[in-house]
Each structure stands twice: as structure tokens, then as C-alpha cells.
Amino acid sequence: MQGIVSGDNRFSRLVYVWRVRWKVRARNLAEFWRDLRGRPLALLGGVVVVLYILGAISAPYISPHSPTQGNLRYRLRPPAWQEGAEPGYYLGTDDQGRDLLTRIIFGARVSLLVGLLSVGISVAIGTALGALAGYYRGWLDQLLSRFADLLLAFPFLIFAIGMMTFLGPGFTNLIVALTFKGWVEFFRLVRGEMLAEKTKEYVEAAKVVGQRDWAIIASEVLPNIIQSVFVLGTLRMGFMIIMEASLSFLGLGIQPPTPAWGSMVSVGRDYMLTAWWVSTLPGIAILIMVLAINLFGEGLRDILDPRLRVE
């Protein structure tokens, strides 16, 4: 019986805490929106990211052609504004006679997924381990930190190449390879912040009140850290998309005929002299995407990190 009662108590307390939290959050959201509007570049970045996501989701409906099926007869046709263009192929065609515009739109799916998944999983693993290591210290921290040092000593690209040859090419393996080293940065970030936060009064207070460790970590400390994690995350997304391009350069990227920007840029490099668009246009798609993510991320950092505010 007692369990139920105390459970009830806890439940009502949790409800109360959550309601307060959500109120704070709603206010923060409104404030956040106001701040965002004050930063046109960040806003623009956000809008572009949203557009990309929408484009990726609706790819089958807005694409003029098939992303995989080409016609060799229309091979390497230039974009519409150049002489010799094939009507209906606005951005020209690639070496298999596939519509480049379609492939770029469909490529957004893969590239965004690569970015989101590799960063998302890295964040999840890095934050969880970082929080544990920073909070408990001891042998766990030692173990994880040394492992992180070890991974850091490998150059990322070499490591990814090794992983890809180890696992074999493919989308899942790509994500695994990128994540395997990607989490270290988040680990280091969260661990460092955790060490700093842990000494602060509110953590002490929570301990005195008798909160459990996991609750302190999850609901007291992490919300204070998550902002910098978020910012680093947005900044890493572009990096991951480019890593896919670099791996494609070596034939270890996304497998054909699936369109991915990195592979498209990489494959098209042989045609740079004769058909610049094959490589350049997907390259510009990456560029705008990464630019938008970074602008958005930078704006977020300005907004979320009070230390950097001008006023």
C-alpha cells in the first residue's frame, strides 16, 4: 500500500515539476522564436534546412524523372541554360543519362539521413557515456576516457576507411563507421561540462533532497548541457555529409544507383573537364545544405549560449 501512496506522491510531484518545466519551456520557445527572428541569417538557414527536409520527404512527387533509371542516349547533357540541353532535364544529366535534378532531390534523402543518423547516434552515445563518466568518475571514466583518447589518435578519415573496408560498403555500415568515432567529441564535451556542472549548487541541492543519481543526471544536469551538444551537433552534420563524399571518393560510400550527394560529386569528378555539372551541382547542393545547417547552428549558439550575447 505504501508503495502506491509514495508512488502517488512522486507522481503528483512529477506532474507538478513537468508542468512548471513546460511552462518555462513554452516561454523559452516564444523567446527563442523572437531571438531567431532577430537573426535573419540563422532564420534563413533554418528555412533552407526545412525546405531541404520537405524536398527530401516529397521527393517522389516533385521529381520530374526517375532517380535511378537513365537513358544512355541522353548522357551528359548540360543544364537547361547551356547549349545542347535536353528539354525537361533542367540541371542536365549524368553519365548514365539520369536527370540530375531528380537525383539531387532524391540525394537529399540519403545525405540528410547520413547527417542526421550519424550525428544523432553519436550524440546519444556520446552524451550518455559522457554524462556517466563525468558524474561517476572512477574506473568507468578512466576506461572511457582512455578509449576516447585512443580513438582520437586515429585520423577520422583513415579510421572511416578502415571501418568501411572492415564492414563492407552500404548505408548502415556507413552510419556505423561514422558513428564509431563520431561519439568521442560529444563524449568529451558532455564529460567536461558534467565535471563543471557537478560542482554547482543545484546538483548539491538535488542530492540533499535525495534525488537519485540518474534523475539528477537526466533531469537536472543534462538540460543545462544539452544546448552545447545541440550546437556541436548541427556543426557536425555538414562534416558527416562531407565524410560520405570523401569515402565515395575511394568507392566506399553509398552504393549505386542510390543517389547521394557525396557519391555524385565524387563520381562526377572524372567529368569535370567535359561536363562540369555532374559533380558541381550536387556539390552546390551540399554546400547550401551545410551552409544552412551551420548558419542555423551558429545562430542557435548565439541564442542559446548566454555568454555570447551582446547585451
Binding site: 533509371q69 548522357r75 549505386p256 548558419l295
Partner: protein, 583 residues
């Protein structure tokens, strides 16, 4: 916002500026054309008093036009820089298995025989070759040939060279190991010195392609190797070739210098004498686009492995010339004949009908390729001339598939049978990406759901060996222009632990083809051999264990003022005759 737009604009214009090409023009050298007779040594069996005797005949195989410069003044440049696609692994003729190693080595070393730019074999260091019987070859050596250190080449060097290859553990650096080139002359059992300029090679069995294969072995100096050892030798190799070693920077850049005391080279291959240029530089430029850019910028004079995409553009670019030669790397997509759907010969034939090889040749290779008519390269000496490539005929393909039960019943665009879609993954290597995607595309258009997957050879090889994969697109070198090395590897059934079927990734195993393959290997009589291989090719053609695709030409490019130059069929760059035209 404005800033961002401007940035993009700058970038775009940068890209657009870079897109069209410009190149400086070079005055065309004054040239004359003349005809060159290309001959080839062939063994023929002549019936003497009722007994077949093998003799060697020099046959005119081709009369070709060759461009030769009329020197009006001394060449302006006497250094030629060659852009290689990959680094040689060593300069020791006995210790490598890569084409580019051979490219560099053969400019420094001579073999007993050599090959012209097509496929003809000519005597080089050998003055004559004579089969004493089916398994014994007597080689008379040319006299007065000097190594780069001035010492004369004798039978001792030849014996040493071959013993170093066929005996175990002859190479002591960096650790003791055996020559990886043994496989290229496996039937050679021993070599005996008869006198200073005569050796006798003893084979374990009759080996018809022996002379073709001898092209790939170069003679090294016994006295020098014994003095400096392998380490000293690879640091400063010495041979009898037209160029002597000058320096190497980690094999990324190898500089050779004209050997003024060169004996002249194969008398059949004019011009004879010391090389034209003073120095040649081999520089490794792995990226194709960089190689082309370096050629356009005038940094290199000759580039190897020109991508087919760029050949047309470069051919039209002033200041640059493009050369092609018949290739030696035929490409197939092998189908697993032991698993459905490819266990049905009709499906395999349908696949052959479904691929428009001519379109691929035109679109992807710019016409610089040829369609395959069956299992052998059209340039092979034993090609079955009665075979023609499977025509592009989608109706026939569909009919054959329908006959085999594959019809699109649920009209999803994919053929199916018993509720199973006709689908498979085509494995291949990254280097065949364009071709693989084109083939997959065409099959998809027919209603076959084809995916492409790139592998590293080493990773996919065990799976192919186990016959686990459905389809594999790759090529198999044919640089000896003989079915041996090719037919038994590719179309003979797989025999564990033997060379038979080691490249057979389709699981194809036809008793008659196996029998014919083995017969062909030991039949010296070329006429009989032709009959044997004709039949074998016909069977493979009909049973179609692979889509017989294409064989691309060897395409190379050079600055316009490089003369006496042309790609060789086996992709070796022989710089002996190459000159720079006077300005």
C-alpha cells in the same frame, strides 16, 4: 542574406569559369607517313616425311601506317615526362605482378623477345628460338649486348634470370622469398647453358604460348646482382634496355637516362638504335582528371589510362593528341549458373540480348571499344571468327524470358515467376562503375530489378570462389593474346587447388569445354588449336554463362609534339622510339 547570395554568385562564376577548357596551341610538327610491316613469329607445324615438325615462321600480320618525324632541327626538348596511373611496386623484373612495374622495367630491361604495339612477338635479346622438341626450346643469344655498366650479356645472365624466377626463395630482400612471376612461366622446369650465347629451356609439358609468355620476363645481370644483392639492385637497377636508371623518388617519380651504348633493340621494330630522347621521367598521377589537367598544362608529355569520357574532348583539343590501341581487358558480367534464375540458359541468353553493347560502346566509350563475340577478346590469336556479338533485341530477350516463365503478371514493371520478382545484385569493382550502371540500367528497362554493389576484389573474391554471388562484372587480362591463361581460368570448371577455373565466377562447368581447354593447352599445332578453341568458344557462346560485354581500347594521350608514339595493346609504354618534334 545579401552576403550569402553574393557568396554563391562568386562560387557559381568560379565554377562556370572553370568549366570550359582552354589550352595553348602547339605548332604541329612536320611529319611524313610511311608504312611499317609488322611481322610476327609463329610456330607452324610442317609435315616432313609424314612427321609433324614444328618450325618458326615470320609472318606478315599487318601493314600499318606509322608517323615518323623528319627532323628539321634538333629537338627542343629532350626530356619526356610520362604520367602513370599507379606506381610500380619495384624495379626488380623478378619481383612484381603489376602492369605499371612492367611498363617502367621494360624501358630499362630487354627480354629474350618483345612485343610490338599490336600483338606480334619479335626477337629481342634472342637471336633465334628453336624448338628442339615439343618441350625443349633452344635460345641463341645476341652477341655484343651490353648491360648499363658496360659488361656484356651472356648465357650466364639468362640462366641466372630464369633460375631466379623458377627456383624457390631466390630473392633475399627484404626477407627471403620466391619470385611472384613464376606462375607466368610455370611449365619451365630448368634452363641449361649450352655455351656463352646459347641456352636450352626445358618445359615439363608442351606449352604453345611459351614464346608469347617470354615477353614478360626480362634479363638481369648476374654479376651485378651477385655483387650488390637484391637491395642494391632495386636501389639502382641495371639492365640491357634503351634507358638506364638515373634516380627514383620512392617510385613516385622514376628518372631514366638514354643508354648511349644500347645495342639497338629488336631489329624488326624500327627505328633501331639508341633512344631519341635524353631522359624519360615516369611520374605517378593516380587521379585521372589530374593526369589530364597535367597534360593540358604541359607538365607531362604522355599520359596513361585516359578515361574514355575525356578521349573525345582531348582529341579535339589543340596541342594534344589521343592514341588508341586494341585493348587486352575484355569485360563480362558472369551469371551464377547454379542458381535460379540464371540456371536457365534461356535467361542467360536473354540477358545477352537485352544489353545494347553498341550503345554502350558509343555512349560510354565514345566508340573506343568493341563488342565481344563470345568468351575471347576479338584480338586473341585464336578468336572464333564465325561468332558475332549477341544482337540487341529486347523482344527476343522478353520472349526467351517468357519461355522460361518470367512474365510481368502484376504489371509492376518487374518480371516475375511464381510470385518471385526477377531481381539480382550485380557485384563489381568501383573501376567498372560506369559500365556496370549502364548494364544494370538496360536490364532494369527490360523489367529486371538490378542493384549494383561495389566491392573490393579481396572481399568479394572468397564469395565468388564459393559461388555465392549472383552476378559479377569484371574483366580478365589477355595480354598474351593466347587462350592459355584465359580459357582455363575463366571457362573451365573450377578445380580446387589448381589453376583451372580460378577466375570462373559463374560456376560454369561443361565437360566438353573442360576437355577442349586441356587439349588446347598442349596442342602445338596452331591449326588444330584453332579448331579446338573454335568449338570451345561456340559452346560457351551458346551457353552464355556471362553477358559478353565489350573490350575497351587502350587510350592514351600525349602532347602534340610527341612523335613516334602510340599506345600498346598491353598498355606498356615503350619509349625507345619516342621523340619530341622540333619546334
Amino acid at each position: 542574406m545579401a552576403v550569402k547570395n553574393r557568396m554563391l554568385l562568386v562560387l557559381m562564376s568560379l565554377v562556370l569559369m572553370a568549366a570550359p577548357l582552354a589550352s595553348c596551341g602547339t605548332p604541329t610538327p612536320e611529319v611524313v607517313e610511311r608504312q611499317v610491316v609488322v611481322t610476327q613469329i609463329v610456330q607452324e607445324t610442317v609435315i616432313v616425311e609424314g612427321t609433324p615438325v614444328m618450325v618458326e615462321v615470320t609472318k606478315v600480320v599487318e601493314v600499318e601506317k606509322q608517323v615518323v618525324v623528319t627532323p628539321t632541327s634538333l629537338p627542343a626538348r629532350d626530356v619526356i615526362i610520362v604520367g602513370l596511373s599507379a606506381a610500380p611496386v619495384t624495379l626488380d623484373p623478378a619481383d612484381h605482378r603489376t602492369r605499371n612495374s612492367e611498363t617502367v622495367i621494360r624501358n630499362m630491361f630487354d627480354g629474350l623477345v618483345t612485343r610490338d604495339q599490336v600483338s606480334g612477338v619479335h626477337l629481342e635479346l634472342a637471336e633465334s628460338l628453336e624448338w628442339l622438341d615439343e618441350q625443349t626450346l633452344e635460345v641463341k643469344l645476341r652477341q655484343g649486348v651490353l648491360f648499363h655498366d658496360g659488361v656484356a650479356m651472356t648465357a650466364d645472365d639468362v640462366v641466372f634470370t630464369f633460375e631466379r624466377i623458377i627456383n624457390e626463395n631466390m630473392i633475399e630482400y627484404p626477407e627471403v622469398h620466391s619470385s611472384p612471376r613464376k606462375g607466368l612461366i610455370a611449365p619451365l622446369e630448368s634452363i641449361d647453358k649450352i655455351d656463352d650465347y646459347t641456352v636450352k629451356m626445358n618445359f615439363s609439358a608442351p606449352w604453345p604460348p611459351a614464346i608469347q609468355m617470354l615477353v614478360h620476363q626480362q634479363i638481369v645481370p648476374k654479376h651485378y646482382l651477385e655483387e650488390v644483392g637484391t637491395k642494391g639492385f632495386i636501389e639502382h637497377p641495371i639492365g640491357t634496355g634503351p634507358f638506364k636508371f638515373l634516380s627514383a623518388t620512392g617510385l613516385e617519380q622514376i628518372v631514366l637516362e638514354r643508354f648511349d651504348d644500347y645495342w639497338g633493340g629488336a631489329p624488326d621494330l624500327e627505328p633501331v638504335g639508341p633512344p631519341c630522347v635524353r631522359q624519360v621521367v615516369f611520374r605517378v598521377i593516380p587521379e585521372a582528371s589530374t593526369r589530364v589537367a597535367a597534360l593540358l598544362a604541359g607538365e607531362v608529355d604522355i599520359i596513361q589510362a585516359l578515361p574514355a569520357e575525356l578521349a573525345d574532348t582531348l582529341a579535339k583539343t589543340p596541342g594534344v593528341q589521343v592514341g588508341t590501341a586494341a585493348g587486352t581487358q575484355p569485360k563480362w558480367m558472369e551469371m551464377n549458373v547454379n542458381q535460379p534464375p540464371f540456371d536457365d540458359v534461356r535467361v542467360r541468353q536473354a540477358m545477352n540480348y537485352a544489353v545494347d553493347k553498341d550503345l554502350i560502346v558509343e555512349a560510354i566509350y565514345g566508340g573506343r571499344a568493341a563488342a565481344l563475340a563470345g568468351p575471347l577478346s576479338p584480338y586473341n590469336n585464336y578468336i572464333n571468327t564465325s561468332l558475332v556479338p549477341y544482337p540487341y533485341d529486347t523482344e527476343k530477350a522478353l520472349a526467351l524470358l517468357a519461355e522460361a516463365g518470367w512474365i510481368d503478371t502484376n504489371s509492376d514493371g518487374i518480371l516475375d515467376k511464381d510470385g518471385i520478382s526477377l531481381a539480382f545484385t550485380m557485384d563489381t569493382l568501383e573501376e567498372f562503375r560506369s559500365l556496370a550502371e549502364a548494364v544494370a540500367n538496360q536490364l532494369r528497362a527490360l523489367g529486371v530489378d538490378v542493384g549494383v554493389r561495389f566491392w573490393e576484389y579481396s572481399v568479394v573474391k572468397p564469395m565468388l570462389d564459393a559461388n555465392e554471388r549472383m552476378a559479377y562484372l569484371d574483366d580478365w587480362g589477355d595480354s598474351a593474346f593466347d587462350p592459355v591463361g584465359h580459357f582455363e581460368a575463366k571457362w573451365h570448371g573450377r578445380v580446387t587447388g589448381q589453376t583451372y577455373g580460378r577466375g570462373n565466377f559463374s560456376g560454369y562447368n561443361n565437360a566438353r569445354v573442360n576437355e577442349l581447354t586441356k587439349l588446347g593447352e598442349i596442342t602445338p599445332d596452331p591449326v588444330v588449336r584453332q579448331l579446338i578453341y573454335d568449338e570451345a568458344q561456340q559452346i560457351v557462346y551458346d551457353e552464355a554463362p556471362a553477358i559478353f560485354l565489350i573490350i575497351p581500347d587502350e587510350t592514351e594521350a600525349a602532347r602534340a609534339d610527341i612523335v613516334n608514339w602510340g599506345p600498346a595493346a598491353d598498355s606498356r609504354i615503350n619509349l625507345h622510339d619516342v621523340c619530341v618534334a622540333a619546334q
